[in-house]
């Protein structure tokens, strides 16, 4: 008998950040696309990461033209689409994972067009019914988000917006006002490689954000190794790992479990 989730949506995310904060670390939020390398293996990857201690998930919905993604995630999306993966399959994946007892927050992450084609209100409602807790749309800045904002508010789902070191005070104020759940901070030049420290522009930028918002800040793009995770953990409320886990996913579920475990273990 699986345990029924008592809280969901925004409250589940709040609880997740409170719990990782209480442990003096950032929340580990891996990204994985449904349908890569196969539908079953993508579910297996998410389950393996849950066992390895992931705090929550970005559940990727593949798109044919992902303009904000690098080659690894582009290629994975192409494979997923060749496997026939649909938006509905991605929602089914969340439902199946919940039925298997997965408790961690899950956010649907996908580009605007497939969600618009599905119907924005319908998508948000079905996402909530499937057991998702929020929505991340990389090509949807706050000023274009009205079509999702209302339904997310109604269904109690988080609607996450992005900030980048290029963001000025006006953009920061806009994201701080409209984002729910957390703000996704994009590290512009990435932090790949064995850096001894995080780049100063990033620490300065985070300090600037902290002075302007209380919303949790989650860092994404360019985090691939345990030492990155350790550095980020001191600065952020959470961090996302995408490409590195997707690359591991190409090798198999065991590789995903191992990498996720080492990232989580570094915190």
């Amino acid at each position: 008998m699986t345990k029924v989730r008592e809280i969901h949506g925004l409250a589940a995310l709040d609880k997740m950040f409170a719990s990782s904060r209480a442990q003096g670390r950032a929340a580990f939020l891996p990204y994985f696309p449904i349908g890569y390398p196969t539908y079953q293996e993508s579910l297996g990857a998410v389950e393996a990461m849950a066992h390895a201690g992931a705090d929550g998930f970005e559940i990727g919905i593949p798109f044919s033209d992902p303009i904000a993604d690098g080659p690894t995630i582009q290629a994975a999306a192409q494979v997923a689409l060749e496997n026939g993966t649909t938006v509905r399959n991605c929602l089914d994946a969340v439902r199946t994972l919940r039925a298997k007892g997965l408790q961690q927050p899950m956010l649907m992450m996908g580009y605007a067009n497939p969600l618009v084609a599905y119907g924005t209100d319908q998508f948000v409602r079905d996402a909530r019914l499937a057991g998702a807790d929020g929505l991340i749309v990389p090509d949807l800045p706050p000023e274009e988000a009205a079509m999702f904002a209302e339904s997310c508010a109604r269904e109690g789902l988080a609607l996450v917006f992005f900030l980048a070191p290029t963001s000025n005070d006006r953009r920061i104020a806009m994201a701080a006002k409209h984002a729910t759940g957390f703000i996704y901070v994009v590290s512009l030049t990435g932090i790949t490689g064995a850096r001894a420290q995080l780049p100063t522009y990033l620490t300065d930028f985070i300090a600037r954000l902290r002075s302007r918002t209380d919303k949790p800040l989650v860092l994404g793009f360019g985090i691939s190794k345990p030492e990155h995770a350790r550095q980020v953990s001191e600065l952020m409320d959470g961090f996302i790992v995408g490409s590195a886990l997707v690359r591991a996913g190409g090798e198999g579920v065991a590789a995903v479990r191992e990498l996720a475990g080492s990232l989580r273990g570094a915190l």
Binding site: I67, V87, R88, N113, F162, T166, S167, T189
Partner: protein
């Protein structure tokens, strides 16, 4: 002749959010929003500065060879036995297509903004060549993304770009055509946004591009509207232009927008025919084309039931694109412009007819507009006038045409 070739009337669409009615907007990653804001501000500054107009007008006159003429197609008109056909000769602009108008405009803007690195996408290669040319003239480094399918079918333009000092970066993702070249250029811009100017070649993408590209191309219609009246004594019954992203068409249509007696007709690529599913006729096949979001703008998009973007087909690389500029979607919805299509076969026929009757080898893109004129002219009275935008010349297409005609 008009001296100021770019827009000064700020009451025109788009609105402050970049919308033409319900189409347009800015659906892009947050990273590049500040760059779009900066671009919008710099563009507003530039068009308020007479010296920018002077510099652009000077280059248009002394470098591009503007104004380009309007030619009366006497033998073609006689052969069709109906409307008189006039051609706006953008094929005679330097580099052989209208794309140079926008490349020079945005190039001057990039220089004004102090951006030293220019990126561009290209389909047929005409925008790539226009950009490479403008950057050679202005002394800026230039990288052009181009799908490998297009590289293969537009070899002369690839060589031209390299000769002009541009780096051509092959794109191997997706359908390996214009759509994927835009994806790659946008990814580059997201990564290098602080140093890089994205010189987008058509009237699409996030605000302010559809507006800015239209403005830089509106010189076509502004000239043609005066020229056709000088030659015929009145406005044309219709203006006809091909529509891929739609920059040559919007550049032609803009000057005629308030001339109610002039019909505006856009011609999309019908490829192998609508029923084949292999085409790029976004307005003609509403089973697979509907409002959606691609490359930062809301417009008609060819997509499957699940919202995945469909691969398109056209014999002409410049029209082989699954979406269309948002202002065209708006003009269509307002019923101010009408959109139809011509198949590969019709375009090839028009390509040959114009070559033989007028001694002008048109681009395959422009041949789609000609095909519509050839269909319409015989049904119209002899004192009526069709103005066709001959957006480019066909030298670049000889390999493609020879290949098809030999089969």
């Amino acid at each position: 002749m008009t001296e100021l070739y770019i827009r000064t009337d700020l009451t025109d669409l788009p609105d402050a959010r970049g919308y033409f009615g319900e189409f347009g907007g800015r659906f892009v990653p947050e990273t590049i929003i500040p760059a779009l804001d900066e671009l919008e501000g710099a563009y507003a500054d530039a068009i308020a500065d007479p010296s920018f107009h002077d510099e652009l007008a000077h280059l248009q006159r002394t470098y591009t060879g503007r104004p380009t003429p309007v030619s009366y197609a006497r033998r073609l008109s006689e052969r069709l036995g109906g409307a008189q056909i006039y051609l706006k000769r953008e094929d005679l602009a330097h580099t052989g297509a209208h794309k140079i108008n926008n490349a020079l405009g945005q190039g001057l803007l990039a220089k004004r903004m102090g951006k030293g690195r220019i990126i561009a996408e290209t389909g047929a290669g005409q925008h790539g060549v226009g950009t490479a040319t403008a950057m050679a003239l202005l002394g800026l480094a230039c990288h052009v993304y181009m799908g490998t399918v297009d590289i293969k079918r537009q070899q002369p333009n690839v060589f031209r770009m390299k000769l002009l000092g541009a780096e051509v970066i092959p794109v191997t993702s997706g359908s390996r055509t214009l759509k994927d070249a835009i994806n790659e250029a946008m990814r580059d811009w997201v990564t290098n946004v602080e140093t890089t100017f994205y010189l987008l070649g058509s009237a699409l993408g996030p605000h302010p591009y559809p507006m800015m590209v239209r403005d830089f191309q509106s010189v076509i219609g502004a000239e043609a509207r005066e020229q056709i009246q000088e030659m015929t004594g009145h406005l044309p019954d219709a203006c006809i232009a091909c529509v891929g992203g739609g920059s040559n068409a919007i550049g032609m249509f803009h000057a005629f927008r308030d001339d109610e007696g002039t019909e505006l007709i856009g011609v999309e690529a019908g490829g192998h025919g609508i029923e084949s599913g292999e085409h790029a006729a976004r307005f003609a096949d509403l089973d697979i084309s509907r409002p959606g979001i691609l490359h930062g703008t809301r417009s008609y998009v060819m997509q499957d039931d699940d919202g995945q973007i469909m691969e398109t087909h056209s014999i002409s690389a410049g029209l082989d694109y699954p979406s269309v500029g948002p202002e065209h979607a708006h003009l269509r919805q307002m019923e101010r412009a009408f959109y139809t299509m011509a198949t590969d076969e019709e375009a090839l026929e028009a390509f040959q007819v114009l070559s033989k009757t007028e001694g002008i080898i048109p681009a395959l893109e422009s041949s789609h507009a000609l095909a519509e004129a050839i269909k319409r002219a015989p049904t119209m009275p002899r004192d009526s006038v069709l103005l066709v935008n001959l957006s480019g010349r066909g030298d670049k297409d000889l390999d493609t045409v020879i290949g098809v005609l030999d089969d």
